[in-house]
């Protein structure tokens, strides 16, 4: 903590009496450096892999976005902002951005609201608590690919349970996934179903930290369940809500597994999302430069979310 104290000249005469103490500054310096080397050796394997597959590719992606895609004998050429100009004129990219915005605007609040309702239901006493909690959480355990298959079947025109229930009320069969008007919303249902139970866990954890004394005090005051929720629970679980919001936002951009099974971005790009478009450009059309440009957009969005989180959440000293 105070290395300067040891080499203070005024302590010299005293220290001179004991040889062990004169050696102290030198040894401390050596030990300190040994600790550095130890730390770097411990960190090296993880950090090398981290840089190799996260930081360097992110930087390389930005560089790639200023070059053209090498094709055949034609090598990559520097094209400046041409790829970005193409972005702005690409109707499918704009469609994907709009879709992703709608997708985020609906799935995030819906998942959070449902997660909170679920947590309130299974927090405390309830008949059949174990079963109910299991029912809420089970979709989270399934692979999203499997979930998508299950829902594709659920939506099946005529045969699927969805249409069968509509049939009871005399409504006609509809192709939910195959129509541009409903495809994106059909996909959103799947997202909400698969993630609400996961977010419930965070709320459950937060609800358990609310002191029992507050409940008792509220009961003495004669506060209703709703008042208690609005005045006590909701403000206290606010950090959790923010944390879940950030996670849900990231998920809204990074999780598109179900698109592969259900719609492939169609029909007519009605359910095209940004990451799926990156995949399509990068691995169907092999236009790697354009895919890199799209990835830059994606990284920018996630970085903004990250910075936002830093400012919103850091007051609670999450990273201390």
């Amino acid at each position: 903590m105070q290395p300067t104290a040891d080499i203070d000249p005024r302590t010299r005469p005293l220290a001179g009496a004991a040889p062990a103490e004169t050696a102290a500054p030198a040894r401390r310096g050596w030990r300190l450096r040994r600790e550095w080397v130890q730390a770097w050796l411990l960190l090296a394997p993880a950090l090398i892999l981290l840089f190799a597959f996260t930081h360097l590719p992110a930087i390389q992606t930005v560089i790639d976005s200023f070059w053209s895609t090498p094709r055949g004998r034609r090598p990559a050429a520097f094209v400046g902002l041409a790829n970005y100009a193409r972005l702005l004129e690409d109707p499918i990219f704009i469609r994907a951005m709009v879709n992703n915005a709608i997708y985020a605007a609906i799935t995030i609040p819906a998942s959070i609201a449902l997660a909170l309702v679920m947590a309130l239901f299974v927090h405390g006493r309830l008949f059949g608590l174990g079963f109910v909690r299991m029912a809420y959480f089970t979709p989270t355990v399934l692979p999203l690919i499997a979930v998508a298959n299950i829902w594709l079947f659920f939506y099946l025109p005529g045969i699927g349970l969805f249409d069968q229930i509509r049939g009871i009320f005399g409504l006609p069969a509809r192709n939910w996934v195959g129509q541009p008007a409903t495809a994106l919303y059909a996909v959103m249902m799947v997202t909400i179903w698969s993630q609400a139970g996961f977010f419930m866990i965070f709320y459950l954890a937060a609800l358990q930290t609310i002191p029992q004394s507050l409940r008792e005090a509220a009961a003495l005051e004669g506060a209703s369940r709703w008042t208690f929720f609005r005045r006590v629970t909701w403000p206290l679980i606010m950090p959790t809500t923010l944390f879940i919001s950030v996670n849900a936002t990231i998920n809204a951009f990074r999780t598109v597994d179900h698109i592969f099974v259900m719609t492939q971005g169609g029909p007519n790009n009605a359910s095209m999302l940004l990451l799926y478009y990156i995949y399509e450009q990068g691995f169907r059309f092999w236009d790697t430069a354009y895919a890199a440009t799209l990835t830059v957009v994606m990284v920018t969005i996630l970085a903004v979310v990250g910075i936002g989180q830093f400012f919103l959440l850091d007051r609670r000293t999450h990273y201390r």
Partner: protein
């Protein structure tokens, strides 16, 4: 407790329970419907009769129609390899961040946290090029490699290591324990709940991961279950739904059964891994 704390009548209570149960049943419907068709003959796909004959035929047909056995082995190899690598690499790194003083610590830790936002999942184009350059395309190693250094694991373990009392650490050193000895004998045993929690999250995440494995694999010998299932369900359009549903349950079976058996621990561990 809540009946004590709040003024509510039996009517409120009934409404509350009914709401909880309705949501639970609605939430289980899609899965229950898929399970129904998987265990009944195709004739009962859309007919609900309580005493419809049960059958394992769909599972047998699904299992024989695609190399699910091989996919299983691939997925198990994959999740085991990722978890082992993550635990070793991230424990070492987290220990350095938690207990050692060295220049660049804060900057490096900030770089680690950045991975929580910008994860390998979205850098697929560039990472594919890297794997291609390394000659690793279509290997199980290539599926796992980008996830070995997990920012989340480093963060989680660092937080846990920081709660270990310094006195224990110093006592072990006085006894002549080396740095790695202290880590292994003091820190790792105390962090066991966190390690278990992270292990569950990691295994279920990588069991379910799809896009990156889809991109880097191109043969039966490397494809994990999720990729195998997607190929099975989309290319063979002639396959009956009852068989596809059986295949869907086959791929998610172990996680589902594991979850149902250890539900309480599962949820508690997810909670532990989630609390920051």
């Amino acid at each position: 407790m809540s009946t004590l704390a709040h003024h509510e009548g039996p009517f409120d209570r009934a409404l509350f329970v009914a709401g909880a149960w309705t949501l639970a049943i609605v939430w289980l419907l899609p899965l229950a419907y898929a399970a129904w068709t998987a265990i009944h003959p195709p004739a009962f796909v859309a007919r609900f009769e309580l005493f419809a004959p049960l059958t394992a035929e769909n599972f047998v047909r699904a299992w024989n129609a695609a190399p699910f056995g091989r996919y299983y082995i691939n997925t198990i190899l994959l999740v085991t390899m990722i978890l082992a690598a993550q635990l070793v690499l991230c424990t070492l790194a987290a220990f350095a961040f938690a207990r050692l003083e060295f220049p660049g610590r804060n900057v490096l830790f900030a770089l680690v946290l950045m991975q929580l936002m910008v994860m390998p999942d979205i850098l697929i184009v560039r990472n594919y090029a890297t794997m291609s350059a390394l000659g690793l395309l279509d290997t199980i190693l290539a599926i796992g490699l980008p996830y070995f250094a997990s920012g989340f694991a480093i963060f989680l373990l660092r937080q846990t290591f920081k709660t270990v009392p310094r006195e224990l650490d110093e006592a072990a050193r006085v006894e002549g324990c080396s740095l790695l000895g202290v880590l292994w004998r003091v820190y790792v045993p105390l962090a066991r709940p966190t390690i278990l929690a992270f292990g569950l999250v990691s295994v279920s995440h990588h069991w379910n991961n799809f896009i990156w494995p889809l991109i880097v694999t191109s043969s039966v010998n490397t494809r994990p279950l999720t990729v195998g299932l997607s190929i099975f369900a989309t290319t063979d359009s002639g396959v009956e739904w009852s068989v596809i549903n059986a295949a869907t349950l086959i791929t998610s079976g172990p996680l589902l059964i594991g979850f149902l058996l250890f539900q309480r621990q599962f949820i508690q561990n997810f909670m532990r891994a989630g609390i920051k």
